[in-house]
Amino acid sequence: MAEAIIARELRKSYPKDVRALDGLSLQAEAGTIFALAGPNGAGKSTTVKILTTLSRPDSGEAQVTGIDVLRYPDRVRQRIGVVGQKTGATPEATGRENLVMQGEIYGLTGRPLRQRVEELLERFQLRDAADRSTKTYSGGMRRRLDVALGLVNRPEVLFLDEPTTGLDPEARMELWQEIERLVGDEEMTILLTTHYLDEADRLAGQLAIVDKGRIVAQGTPDALKSELRGDAIQVELANPSSGDRVHEALRSLPGLSAIGLEGSTVRARAEHGASAIPTILSALEKEGITVASMTLARPSLDDVYLRYAGRVYHDDANGGEEAA
């Protein structure tokens, strides 16, 4: 099996002409972590909802583990695990009760079910809290239970929708390690969405950047970054300046490309960053623009986003939730 997930030309609009997906296509190889990265509202969650049979697209098609999602949703459901953005565990029940119920839904019973539940409690360090109501769980514990719930049926493909949003750094790191272990030890395919580009960079074997309902770039994180030749240069101006003046100053400099200005920050790409710095400095000063600071970096996924989406990446939490 080569592709665990295939989506072709998915389109979906919500009432009031909100276009969530605008011809999104992707292919995720089996046995890897596939990250769908992009800002809030880009269409990541809608994609996951369609691939997990929760929602239906207006047009387009999708297959998960080779099975048509729209035609045979029940067969897909049996083979996947889903961890949504919201918890999904029932608050009045204990962790163990939640896991047992989830197992029963997938047709596990008796001893195999009990063994599976104990195994997951152990693995996600929930044994001590197993018989407490999940209302008493901390955010990190609840997230671990959510992932455990998604794994009860030993899915071939696991979907994680923004798994680390709202977690503290330590809990996030723990979850990252667990996700990496799942792919390594159990040869599972994982599709995760994230609006943290660093998370995608760290975890993903394959990455797709989503913007306005379409995939704007897809590949391994390294390949995407190395496609951007040269270094990223960021210049902080002492005072906000007009785009025209900055462009005027930098336009003619050799080896400089992708010049952009936002507020008082100028971004550009340079083939040889180190030698470009003094040239940029003097060119700006000649125009009477004062520079406060300047940084030089190897390309990051933020630069990839800038290149393909045509604007600077903001992962602000109040960027508007996707149409739910």
Partner: protein, 257 residues
């Protein structure tokens, strides 16, 4: 098999939620007492109206009250759905291979258990304050049965509505504007021959009245078995339609997300 197992899991889940709330248990026990004693005292003199027959008002009131309590608890069933949508539980169920019917059936089963418990409390209280059930346990069982049938329909319709409106406020508005009028457009508290003609006419099409008539007739002397059977049949048909609607409504919910 799968359907039964899934329904049991959902029922178990709701019962757990219920019995782990001491406050709920208290309210469920006390509420019937308040209604029976309050209505019993308030409307006591109805029994003295010329043309009223059928013994004491408590005896007349008990079946009406049991039916009223059934719909007023089952009508809120959809609130649990909305809560589940908000916390993510609903989505987790819908991406699993769970039988959709179980999500409604489990919720309805919980309501039926609540209705049975509350009805038994009302019946017991009624006996304690001097009411009689001439047809004994059998009559009371039929009374509780028709109340449960009606409650199951109300619960299913409430669930269906919850899946469509997805907002607490809309559901609250709909439930309150339906249950009370339907109760008073029935013979729950007033004998049929004593209500205005138009109410009598409307009541013929009111499922609440079907349950009240069948339940009252079964529980009191001179049972009209023809009435009991036809009304029970109508209620069963209503339940089938409501349950079908509730199960179909998951499609509507899934289309909208």
């Amino acid at each position: 098999m799968k359907a039964a197992r899934h329904t049991w899991q959902i029922t178990l889940r709701y019962l757990r939620a219920l019995f782990r709330q001491p406050a709920w248990i208290g309210i469920t026990l006390i509420q019937p007492m308040i209604w029976l004693l309050l209505f019993g005292a308030l409307f006591k003199s109805i029994a003295k109206i010329p043309g009223f027959h059928g013994g004491s008002y408590i005896e007349f009131l008990t079946p009406g009250l049991i039916v009223m309590l059934a719909i007023s608890s089952a009508g809120w069933s959809g609130m649990a759905y909305i809560e589940d949508m908000n916390i993510g539980v609903m989505d987790r169920f819908l991406v699993s291979p769970i039988w959709r019917g179980a999500l409604n059936a489990g919720s309805v089963a919980q309501q039926v258990i609540i209705i049975a418990l509350q009805s038994l409390i009302v019946a017991g209280l009624s006996l304690a304050v001097g009411g009689h059930f001439p047809n004994g346990v059998g009559g009371v069982a039929i009374l509780i049965g028709v109340s449960a049938l009606l409650g199951a329909s109300f619960a299913s319709l409430s669930n269906a509505l919850a899946l469509v409106v997805r907002q607490r406020e809309s559901l609250i508005g709909a439930v309150t504007s339906v249950t009370l009028p339907l109760t008073f457009l029935s013979t729950a508290f007033m004998q049929q021959t004593l209500v205005p003609n138009w109410i009598r006419w409307v009541a013929r099409f009111n499922p609440v009245n079907w349950a009240v008539q069948a339940g009252r007739s079964a529980a009191t002397q001179h049972t009209d078995w023809n009435l009991v059977l036809t009304r029970t049949g109508l209620l069963a048909a209503l339940l089938l339609v409501s349950a079908w609607l509730a199960t179909r409504s998951f499609n509507s919910y899934q289309r909208s997300i």
